[in-house]
Symmetry: C2
Subunit: 156 residues, 2 copies
């Protein structure tokens, strides 16, 4: 990957706070939105969601998901030049008892302090998505198929 | 639906130029980005894509898709309050010979004039997605399940 594409990827992963999440609902792909935070080394992505959300219901039956991070539209540029990455992986709820839970909760709340109250609700869970593969579009026609190792190599 | 939620929905459908599209790839949900334009009455959504794009490849095998339109993050508001709608339907390439094609092409190019050159390329197609059902989040906790008729009633 060229340096410019790599820098753009690192910015995407570090800065974008929302992801479009693709899940399966009765065999149909469903897309919804989740607030996200990435592990600093790019090895995992986390979101906090209510069990009532469609994506949470869908994950129980089928953990395979896709998360897309995208530069937001600015109503100026050709939107095809917006950088975006679609990351495929499985979403797993983090056990509340584990040490990872408290660390990730702190990382999540540093980005989304307004979500603090939801951590005391029983029906919310922190989900972890570890990338299996990704399709990265750095700009028009600059397309890369990435492995989890490629993402981590780019970010570190 | 309350008036504020309806107004927000109309703005989403009229103003958002990009959608996150969920397709199926080997049984896995995949999310990518497409530039979109909506029929003025909300009865259909269109995008133009190369046959090389993953979503185009996926649609050939499985036309069921989901399109999500979302307010962009502004790095200020709680992102859970961003309005968004996930629309489920089937994507079908518009036949080039039909009268609909020229009308939709003109509508698409009015929004994306920089895409003009792609209309002369043989491997690009205009896809039409007619909503079957939608999940609309007007803001935190303001969630509506909508039919195609509900969308059209809101917009007209």
């Amino acid at each position: 990957m060229d340096t410019e594409s790599r820098d753009t990827l690192v910015k995407l992963i570090r800065e974008q706070r929302i992801a479009a999440i693709g899940t399966l609902r009765g065999g149909f792909p469903e897309v919804s939105m989740v607030p996200v935070v990435a592990e600093p080394d790019g090895s995992a992505f986390y979101f906090h969601a209510s069990a009532l959300a469609h994506h949470s219901q869908n994950i129980v039956r089928e953990p395979r998901v896709s998360l897309m991070l995208s530069e937001p539209d600015d109503w100026g540029r050709d939107p095809r030049t917006l950088a975006r990455i679609g990351i495929r992986g499985e979403a797993r709820a983090l056990p509340r008892e584990g040490t990872a839970y408290e660390r990730v909760k702190a990382m999540y709340l540093a980005r989304f302090p307004e979500s603090a109250a939801h951590f005391s609700l029983g029906d919310f869970a922190l989900y972890r998505v570890e990338p299996v593969a990704a399709r990265y579009v750095a700009g028009f026609g600059r397309i890369f198929n990435l492995s989890a190792a490629d993402i981590m190599a780019a970010i570190t």
